[in-house]
């Protein structure tokens, strides 16, 4: 899905500039789609996967083996992280080949840091989500309903999307725009404070872990 979106958005806006600036559009939308990929793979997929494992009673069965809970969950988390990185790598390569979006040399650290923190943050939120969802069937809709509006308001699909100032401030406290901006920073210098974005991601990562640990159920 991130790849389809990349091509769709890219084909309509590539070559232009972000209105009011000299920044090329692809330098913004490619990293935005990278962020989107992280959210879909880590938050939506992990949340739905764990909810399904719980619903099917697989977690309950794992608990009867000597495998420590931490080892099992780390394994699930690790496979999610690998999927996420594969998706973002594909997105980045296509963004480069099709639209010529290349990260700044000095921005690679930001991209790497943003991806790692993003996977941890959205992955732990996915864990929390799977515990909050009543059933396997409701996990996906809840995930989509929770991140899509935020993604739209955060300008993931259209950086010029405008919302009232108070809403923009509220969205700024959520992890979606924070991750997108960190990754954008890796492609082109934009006007914002990257430290505050990192802080937002970090806080959500901690909150996600805490909620996941508090609400985690085996069955």
């Amino acid at each position: 899905m991130p790849l389809a979106l990349l091509l769709l958005i890219g084909s309509t806006t590539a070559g232009g500039t972000v209105p009011g600036t000299h920044v090329k559009a692809q330098m913004i939308f490619v990293p935005s789609i990278l962020a989107f990929g992280v959210i879909v793979a880590a938050y939506v997929n992990l949340g739905a996967k764990l909810a399904t494992l719980r619903h099917d009673g697989v977690l309950k069965r794992i608990r009867t083996t000597p495998l420590p809970a931490g080892a099992y969950l780390s394994g699930v988390f690790g496979s999610t992280a690998a999927t996420t990185l594969a998706i973002t790598a594909c997105t980045a390569v296509i963004g480069w080949l099709a639209f010529g979006a290349v990260p700044r040399v000095g921005g690679l650290a930001e991209i790497a840091g943003g991806l790692i923190l993003g996977v941890v943050c959205f992955g732990s939120l996915g864990l929390a989500l799977s515990s909050v969802a009543r059933s396997a069937e409701s996990a996906s809709p809840i995930a989509n309903a929770s991140y899509l509006p935020v993604a739209i308001m955060s300008g993931i699909f259209d950086p010029t999307f405008s919302v009232p100032g108070w809403l923009s401030a509220a969205v700024g406290l959520l992890p979606v725009r924070a991750l997108a901006q960190i990754l954008q920073q890796g492609y082109t210098p934009v006007e914002h404070a990257p430290l505050s974005d990192l802080l937002v991601l970090l806080c959500w990562a901690v909150a996600g872990c805490a909620l996941a640990a508090w609400r985690f159920r085996w069955h």
Partner: protein
């Protein structure tokens, strides 16, 4: 302690458990010997599930002492899990797995797993090795449950209501798998609602009621302790029905229609009396003479509903 500890797979002594202020277990005592099939029976709410969960290490206890394979399940969970196999009542499988793959994944969780071929043979799933788990029938899935529980070559296997909801054919195959487990020398703790299942599989049973063990012993011992009489029945001779012959005074015989039924605690004595009486009164052989020893079901119903309080 008269027996050496190594002969006992499970020792439970004075086990107590309360939820909030409600006492669920009020001092449960029983032992399970190594290599036997031990069955825990009791009405719903008697504390079976709680007891088993404490033994498996899923639940901390309020009081009393518990040893499972010499370990305390409350604080040696890790080492215990390596040596026990648990078949839970309702437990799913990963959606895309194949039988052989799944068993192999499970084998990887244990330090000294049993070979795959052997596991599949024990549960009679050798020909399903490459089948998708979701294509298995209910009975086959249950046998796959067994295979997963056996993956680590455990000394002790917990089976929680293994055949609930099965058709007779699936039950038989499931029982066969349990007999196979027994012949491997595994100790088995079984809980079930089916008394015929307990009677067929268990070496010893314990009946749990109101948070205590009411009775424990072999099926025969339990039946004897419950005081269930042996039933002797025969077709009542005409002379008896007409009233021209009286029954021997020392036997309690009820005649209803054609059937005469004698209930006695001592079948041998009663039979001797009965045959002597028939011969003395020239009644010939008693037709359809049958001796029915008490079943576990009779004993259970007498102990559980026939009313202690």
């Amino acid at each position: 302690m008269t027996e050496p500890t190594s002969d006992l797979a499970i020792e439970v002594c004075g086990l107590r458990m309360s939820y909030g202020g409600r006492q669920v277990l009020r001092g449960v005592d029983f032992d399970v010997r190594s290599g036997e099939v031990f069955c825990l029976l009791g009405p719903n709410g008697a504390g079976k599930t709680t007891t088993v969960e404490i033994l498996e290490g899923f639940r901390p206890r309020t009081g009393g002492s518990v040893r499972v394979l010499g370990l305390d399940p409350a604080d040696q969970q890790g080492s215990l899990r390596e040596r026990i196999g648990i078949v839970l009542q309702e437990c799913g499988f990963p959606r895309q797995a194949r039988v052989g793959e799944l068993v192999n994944i499970w084998r990887a969780y244990y330090p000294a797993p049993r070979p795959l071929d052997e596991l599949l043979a024990v549960v009679e799933l050798t020909s399903e090795r490459d089948s998708q788990v979701r294509r298995l029938s209910g009975g086959q899935r249950r046998r796959l449950d067994f295979a997963l529980a056996l993956a680590g070559d455990p000394d002790l296997v917990f089976l929680d209501e293994p055949t609930t909801g099965f058709d007779p054919e699936s039950r038989r195959r499931c029982w066969a798998a349990i007999e196979n487990l027994r012949s491997l020398g595994k100790t088995i703790l079984l809980t079930t609602h089916y008394l015929d299942e307990a009677e067929r599989l268990a070496d010893r049973v314990a009946i749990l009621q109101d948070g205590r063990v009411q009775t424990v012993g072999s099926v025969r011992q339990v039946a004897r302790q419950a005081g269930v009489p042996t039933t002797i029945s025969f077709t009542a001779p005409h002379a008896l029905r007409r009233g021209s012959v009286a029954m021997p005074g020392c036997l309690h015989v009820e005649v209803s229609g054609e059937l005469a039924v004698c209930r006695t605690p001592n079948a041998a004595v009663a039979l001797r009396e009965l045959l002597a009486w028939a011969a003395a009164n020239d009644l010939g052989d008693l037709d359809d003479l049958a001796v029915e020893t008490p079943t576990l079901e009779d004993a259970y119903l007498r102990l559980v509903s026939g009313g202690t309080r």
